[in-house]
């Protein structure tokens, strides 16, 4: 029975720790399928977190906070799109520049908005929703079916993204842009419009990771609260083979490893804690080596498309 309680705890922890990574990874998949690297996920998480905190702080409504967070993500996505699509600058450099910009800007703005309260300005967030019947199930009930609304939104978005990308005509267009923009252009696909759409949606999804941190987890904004989740998400994209469902499974796997290592620290205190901390990274490294033989990255990801160029 103890083991079942432990299992339930680990599952709940997986959902909490994995959800922000999953949102960011989903955003990264959409961008990379459209041929654009989104290295700016880390900064966009911060933008979404600040937007959510500011919106909820100003209005007292978590839903408006959610909206503000998404808008911040869209804007930061479009900014990256402008750099990558219009200016055709190196997408890795553009993403890193965006990360630096947003890390500084969110820190500055948070001091302007929340003032001296900074770490202590509590905002209104979402409370957990118990799904009828399912939440009464043993073990999985309390851990997976009484989560916050954003967790359910993640599941919904993952399925919607998979369906749109893999089964719809527009999704096929986007994938074509990511594989061979010239061919897509010749076939009449509006390449630049698709790329702007993909990078904006990507920014909004990454921002949802920040929204989740603020409105579902801690209810405050803190400088640098993304704490590398945007970079772990980049690994989840590769581990998930550029598939929306795969990336989310990979993100939840990272969350699972993190949740397990907290448990293992109690049950095996004699083992150095550093070993448990590297567990998620070790697992992803092994998974990448095992699965890595079959590369399936979009063929034109990271290469700026120039219509004039032959």
């Amino acid at each position: 029975m103890i083991d079942l309680v432990l299992l339930g705890d680990v599952l709940a922890g997986t959902a909490r720790l994995g959800t922000p990574i999953a949102f960011a990874a989903l955003g990264g998949v959409i961008a990379e399928r459209g041929g654009l690297y989104n290295i700016g996920l880390e900064g966009q998480i911060l933008a979404g977190a600040l937007g959510a905190a500011a919106g909820s702080f100003a209005t007292g409504s978590a839903v408006i906070g959610l909206g503000c967070g998404i808008i911040c993500g869209l804007i930061s996505g479009l900014l990256l799109g402008y750099m990558s699509v219009r200016l055709r600058i190196n997408q890795l450099v553009g993403g890193i520049a965006l990360n630096l910009l947003l890390a500084g800007l969110t820190a500055f703005l948070s001091r302007q908005i929340f003032g001296a309260q900074a770490g202590g300005a509590r905002v209104k967030g979402f409370s957990q929703i118990d799904i009828p019947f399912l939440s009464d199930l043993p073990v999985v009930g309390p851990s997976l079916f009484s989560q916050d609304p954003l967790f359910y939104l993640l599941i919904g978005l993952a399925i919607a993204a998979w369906f749109w990308l893999m089964k719809s005509h527009k999704g096929l267009d986007l994938r074509a842009v990511g594989e061979n923009p010239k061919a897509a252009d010749l076939a009449g696909v509006p390449v630049f419009r698709m790329q702007y759409l993909a990078i904006a949606v990507s920014g909004a999804l990454a921002a949802l990771a920040g929204v989740h941190l603020v409105l579902s987890q801690v209810y405050v904004f803190a400088e640098g609260m993304s704490a590398g989740k945007g970079f772990i998400a980049l690994a989840a994209i590769i581990l998930g083979r550029w598939s929306p469902i795969g990336a989310i499974c990979a993100a939840l796997f990272f969350g699972f490893c993190d949740a397990v290592q907290f448990k293992l620290q109690f049950t095996s205190p004699e083992i150095p804690y550093q070993l448990f901390l590297i567990l998620p990274y070790l697992a992803s490294l092994i998974a990448l080596v095992v699965l890595g033989a079959k590369a399936s990255a979009p063929a034109s990801v990271g290469l700026p498309y120039d219509r004039e160029h032959r």
């Binding site: 909490r16 001091r111 987890q217 405050v220 803190a222 704490a227 907290f262 620290q265 901390l277």
Partner: protein
């Protein structure tokens, strides 16, 4: 910014024509790894020096955001221009200070949280395990389940001393107490901070002490949601979180003020200046939670007196 501060310092030096204190310091400079508006370590260092300079009558200069490759250049520059006291703000300055101090034997150097002293290198830090002992005593006394927790980011002297002191203090209050220790590996990851606290609470901990930076916010969120008690660090945290039983206040400004007063009187030596409970300016406890019975408050005050008088020695020192 660095250049700016150098220019300002130079300008101030030109304007300061009159003779200053004979045996104490006339000019002191601090070199910091980060921004002076970080609301934390660097801001404390900057304010610690400038405010002491105004009060004690010496001229203060600063360089901010100085990274590893520039440390030697910036430190030597101050020494070359005749600053009496040059402070490296953080243990990462130790190596650079040692190299520069060998070339400028007339200049006094200080490393905050430093790792070794010489004739002209002083160090200043805190007696971490002493205040952690008091926190452990409060936590051990207030726990109903007999299980308490402490969460830290990475293992080094500050955290290992703090954990050891906390365990010793808790055992002094309740010999059967179980102390859970969680290492998160990250100072700022709020989600991990929360997860670590939730895990400790689900293991039965009803007092949790998070000792990270931003990640502490996540842990305190879990403490609040689950209705258990927390312990604060650096400032009197009960003002922000009503669940805080007691806080370990480590005041960098106060610690700097203590040694700068010595420096102004010309008494600063190449020694370790460790703030303990006897130095209230630098290290003290915060407000007691109203739930804490008078008996426990009296016991804690007795412990503090015993620490001051030297009858209670907490290890590691």
């Amino acid at each position: 910014m660095q250049l700016m501060s150098k220019l300002l310092a130079g300008l101030a030096a030109l304007m300061l024509a009159g003779p200053a204190a004979a045996d104490g310091i006339e000019r002191a400079a601090i070199v910091m790894p980060g921004s002076i508006s970080d609301n934390g370590w660097n801001q404390a260092g900057f304010e610690g020096l400038t405010k002491a300079g105004e009060a004690l009558g010496f001229e203060a200069a600063f360089s901010e955001s100085v990274h590893q490759p520039e440390q030697i250049e910036v430190l030597s520059d101050y020494a070359r221009r005749g600053y009496d006291l040059v402070i490296g703000h953080g243990g990462e300055f130790q190596d650079a200070v040692e190299r520069v101090a060998a070339r400028f034997p007339e200049t006094m150097f200080m490393v905050n949280n430093g790792l070794g002293t010489k004739d002209n290198i002083a160090n200043a830090d805190f007696y971490f395990s002493q205040i952690a002992y008091l926190m452990g005593y409060v936590a051990g006394s207030m726990s109903d389940t007999g299980t308490i927790g402490i969460i830290a980011a990475q293992q080094f002297k500050f955290t290992t001393d703090t954990v050891a002191g906390y365990e010793a203090g808790a055992k002094a209050a309740n010999p059967d107490v179980r102390v859970l220790v969680t290492w998160t590996g990250d100072w700022d990851d709020i989600a991990k901070g929360k997860e670590a606290a939730l895990n400790q609470i689900s293991q039965g901990a009803d007092v949790v002490w998070p000792t990270m930076d931003s990640a502490t916010l996540g842990s305190m969120q879990a403490v609040q949601e689950k209705g258990v008690y927390g312990i604060g660090i650096y400032r009197d945290a009960i003002n922000e979180w009503p669940e805080i039983l007691q806080s370990a206040i480590l005041d960098v400004r106060g610690n700097m003020r203590s040694y700068l007063e010595l420096a102004a009187a010309g008494k600063l030596e190449g020694a370790l200046y460790r703030a303990d409970m006897g130095n209230e300016l630098a290290m003290r406890i915060g407000s007691f939670h109203p739930d804490i019975p008078v008996g426990v408050v009296d016991e804690v005050n007795k412990l503090i007196d015993a620490m001051k008088s030297g009858t209670l020695v907490v290890n590691p020192q």
